[in-house]
Symmetry: C2
Subunit: 329 residues, 2 copies
């Protein structure tokens, strides 16, 4: 199994990307990795060449580049060459921590869609209180979704939860403004009806306030609302921790108490850290494409490789193809 | 100034509603309050009749009632009679902690819309890290919004922020999936263009992760997305506090440290408590209608009365009428 990685994507590239990739090679004896990027900058962090190759290029897609144009024009960019490895059959999956929009464009235009999937979806796995996590999709690949897109998200999310996360008959929820069957905007109401007609384990509408309680294993919604939900979770967690920090350092007594609590607080932060769940997978493409967080460290890259490896090993793409074919019948 | 209150609405009605109303009467010498509900249940909590009257009724709209049907059929319900007080000119504003959907229906059908406002919007004021708060609308009055509705929300939010919250030239943001001008779904893109053409202090697109940082004084979006954002903030804050609680009670040392930190943690919780900002105002109606939180205690009811009083005293409805007229020219 071969995984192509954009070594130049993300805030801590190439250093953390290269270190994370090497860690993954050591840990998983069945994988090979191709790093794509500036060899002069990559080489210093490589300690072992085993099962590791480099494709040299000096072109990079920046975070500020307009995604579609960048993918079309920067034909030698590390992200584009990475996607080429997959589309031309030299790699089974690919990973980038770079420009999210550009990766979605590269996925769509270079890797290509699965037949029967109209729109790819971006799907992170988010933490829940019980530590099990849930898959949320779409968080922004497609901001103007139709009901049938949401149904396709449900099929793809179910395949992923079952094959990669090992959840049998995963619970599929529709993010909505209330739990009653008739709730929602036109999109949600129609998507609800479509999902009810499938053999999915559809648990109906779920509310945003119950997401972190683990109310479903897979939660589907349009990319606009999903993006807002994802960023609201991030923003609220950061805000609460920031307020907690100022509260805990407001005087000498609280500072001492906070010091005593440090192990517990660190553990809590770790629980909220979704790097452990890997990156956000782009579902609906002919091969696994993983968007690692822009701030990914080696640890996050390692988990993104693990995730890509599991998606390939368990043939999630094939499962999605079958589900789509079954629905069409 | 007279304020009508549904004494039977909310989890702690009528007790907390009555106590909160009395507290408000004592605090604000310029208001009279009419409590609507079962006099036998209300009376025991009344200590002073001054500027307080009761309209007796035994019918109540339950939390589980289908909103529109309940308002149409339960003609003697406390919430319906409360709205009648406003529509028939005997009260200047009204407050209920009961069924949100029913209150929206009562507002729309009984109190009535302002000319030029197509859809009312539900607008809570939410906490920010700096303690200043922001107004979010719509959080669910209208789940299928058009661009011109979002423009109307901006006008109404601006009037409220200026007149009641005392913010001159309030910053108006559009909740979106990115801060760049061209971002968003069709709705957001069109609403962006409309808002840019006004004299509002429109600061452009804002992201959900920056909401609690106080990135704008008023944030507008459709009721579906706004509802998800609101409930995600609530759910995430609750989840983080719940995880914090288990972390802080995991062993003897942490329990002792947590005890020392109790004042700081309580202060933090208070900061996140949006009862202080009043209830969610229903904007776009001919008189102020306030939806107090279902779990409102006397303290929250007191603040809802304060808020209704300020909306009447500063004539927010008239300001909205003028803004709408200016835009139409």
């Amino acid at each position: 199994m071969k995984i192509a990685i954009d070594a130049m994507g993300g805030d801590h590239a190439p250093k953390e990307v290269v270190i994370g990739a090497q860690k993954a090679i050591e840990h998983f004896p069945d994988i090979e990795i191709t790093l794509v990027g500036n060899e002069t900058l990559i080489r210093p962090y490589i300690t072992n060449d085993e099962r590791l190759s480099i494709i040299h290029t000096e072109q990079v897609i920046e975070a500020t580049d307009e995604p579609v144009r960048a993918v079309r024009r920067k034909k030698e960019a590390s992200m584009v060459l990475m996607a080429n490895e997959v589309s031309e059959g030299r790699a089974d999956a690919c990973i980038s921590a770079g420009n999210t929009g550009a990766l979605m464009a590269a996925g769509l235009f270079i890797v290509g869609r699965i037949d029967g999937i109209d729109r790819p979806a971006l799907a992170p796995t988010l933490p829940t209180i019980d530590g099990k996590g849930f898959v949320l999709l779409d968080v922004g690949a497609n901001v103007d979704a139709r009901p049938e897109h949401l149904l396709q998200y449900a099929l793809m999310g179910a395949a992923y939860a079952e094959k990669v996360r090992g959840i049998s008959r995963p619970r599929i929820g529709l993010l909505n403004v209330g739990t009653e069957d008739q709730k929602g905007n036109e999109l949600a109401k129609k998507a609800f009806q479509l999902m009810q007609q499938t053999s999915l384990n559809f648990v109906g509408n779920v509310e945003a306030r119950d997401l972190l309680e683990g109310v479903a294993d897979v939660v589907v919604i349009d990319g606009f609302t999903g993006n807002v939900a994802l960023k609201t979770i991030e923003g609220t967690a950061i805000a609460v921790f920031s307020m907690l920090k100022s509260a805990l350092t407001s005087n000498v007594v609280s500072k001492m108490a906070a010091l005593a609590l440090k192990p517990q607080l660190m553990q809590l932060k770790k629980k909220m850290d979704y790097a452990e769940y890997g990156g956000a997978a782009l579902f609906g493409l002919r091969a696994p494409v993983i968007k690692a967080h822009g701030s990914s460290d080696a640890h996050a890259i390692f988990h993104a490789v693990r995730q890509a490896r599991e998606m390939v090993a368990n043939d999630v793409v094939q499962t999605v193809k079958q589900s789509v074919a079954e629905i069409k019948q």
